[in-house]
């Protein structure tokens, strides 16, 4: 049975009296311990799907099921021990006036879990940060270190599903590599299921087993990793995305994109 099932999901925002259809009729299912990628350009609704799962965007049609159960509204505490999210911008996703310690201990306090000191230290070690960073403030960390803290926070409640919203797009290339490696290691060690969003096809390809291409809130094409590597896409949009991918640029350095 699939761990995450999304059936005909639609999200409609009401802005200034107009309806904006951010997501329309998207269906997908993700198995346990699978890594699934959503790729598309801005306005494709890829992040909105993640937000809809978390209850941060209004579900106006369709069904979201986690482990066979429809997600409750509001999501509630049980949900937060199942699903957590890592946000795009590590500069905006950590509370600027809380120490790392407070940020990591807060989920434990909410759920009444004890043994906070050792759990916080363990979480820092797990994401490759020295325990000495525990009482630093976010502004005393680099972007990559902050994103590690954000990942540690998401894992505090030991969820099975991690939603990753462009987790490396705000980071430098070398830091991106470190964070992607960390995510892959954690997934293997903890048996996590990833649902990852990115605009970078190469990153998605590196991280995910299956990929869905989205455009204007609709699903365009679902590809396996092998399909992508062999350039076996059937829709013109998926192909244009593939061709424009920065990763492909070095393959034809003499001829600029037209």
């Amino acid at each position: 049975m699939s761990l995450i099932e999304i059936e005909n999901l639609s999200v409609v925002f009401r802005a200034k009296g107009r309806d904006v259809r951010a997501v329309e009729n998207v269906s997908l299912s993700i198995d346990a311990q699978e890594s699934y990628g959503l790729v598309g350009e801005s306005g494709s609704g890829k992040s909105t799907i993640l937000r809809a799962i978390c209850g941060m965007a209004p579900v106006s049609g369709g069904m979201i099921r986690i482990a066979g159960q429809p997600v409750p509204t509001p999501r509630g505490r049980a949900f937060s021990t199942q699903v957590q999210m890592v946000f795009q911008d590590p500069y905006a996703s950590l509370h600027p006036r809380h120490t790392i310690d407070r940020t990591l201990a807060e989920p434990l306090a909410i759920h009444g879990l004890g043994d906070r000191d050792s759990r916080v230290v363990q979480a820092l070690t797990d994401v490759g940060l020295p325990p000495a960073f525990r009482f630093r403030y976010p502004h005393q960390l680099s972007g990559g270190q902050r994103q590690r803290v954000a990942i540690a926070r998401a894992l505090m409640l030991k969820p099975k599903i991690l939603l990753l919203d462009e987790p490396t797009s705000a980071l430098d290339a070398s830091v991106q590599a470190e964070v992607l490696n960390l995510l892959n290691r954690l997934r293997a060690e903890l048996g996590l299921t990833f649902l990852m969003v990115s605009h970078d096809l190469a990153v998605i390809d590196h991280m995910c087993d299956r990929i869905m291409v989205l455009q204007h809130g609709r699903q365009v094409e679902e590809l396996t990793r092998d399909d992508l590597a062999a350039a076996r896409m059937t829709t013109p949009y998926a192909r244009s995305l593939f061709d424009a991918s920065a990763d492909r640029m070095l393959d034809s350095p003499t001829e600029p994109a037209r």
Partner: protein, 301 residues
Amino acid sequence: MTTLRAWLADPNPTSRRQARLGQLWLAWVRIRRNRLAMAGLVIVGLLLVVAIFAPLLAPHNPLTQDLSRRLLPPGTPGNLLGTDDFGRDILSRIIYGSRITLYIIALVAVTAPVLGLLIGTVAGYFGGWIDAVLMRVTDIFLAFPRLILALALVAVLGPGIENAVLAIALTAWPPYARVARAETLTVRSSDYIAAIRLQGASAPRIIAGHVVPMCLPSVIIRVTLDMAGVILIAAGLGFLGLGVLPPAPEWGLMISSGRKFLFEQWWVATMPGLAIFLVSLGFNLLGDGLRDVLDPRSASR
């Protein structure tokens, strides 16, 4: 001394307390570089010292009348700033008056901002009809002229220091609610609030633990800048005879009683006026300095 500084500036604090003190120390370092803010801090500090040690500092009893020594000019031996129409020493009265001023400031500072912060953050965080209702109430209070509302309240409740404070606090909170709400609106949609919500935190927890710390700096700055206004309103109420009752040495009251001899014995009204001016200036300078130090936009460095 050097070890204490190293402990405070340690980039890797070993406890919550050290981290917090380290941040405070950084703020102190930053405010110390701002000369005007330091001047403000010194004035406010002086006010505190004078208020605490008033019995030691004052040369005379502020209430003792001596009609044989009435309306003496400044510089008279024994009465440095002169005496008023009842022969009371003006310097002593100003020194004791600082206690009343400080009392009013302290009471207003713990009531109005707390009320404003609560209403503003709740309105901003929940939005919708809660926001609409709370903000219309705020608008109603904002629409009243401050002094007039304070007058009406004192007129109903009777003059006296507590009623004056109540009147000032009731008219002072709406701006804090507005500031806090504006700040909350930007904080509410941020990723770190989304993250903590996703961790299952309740609304009161989010507001108290995550939203309020972000609103606090702007409210504190606003409070400091408003203190000058509070002192002036308190003085205004005193001047109109609706605040502190005579013969208490309240600065506004002193100006009021000196008004009758303003042309012949100018010092009676001028000296407490200078005191009000100085303390207001101190709070304004401090507020400006705090803005540089506490503003989240500049503290992110």
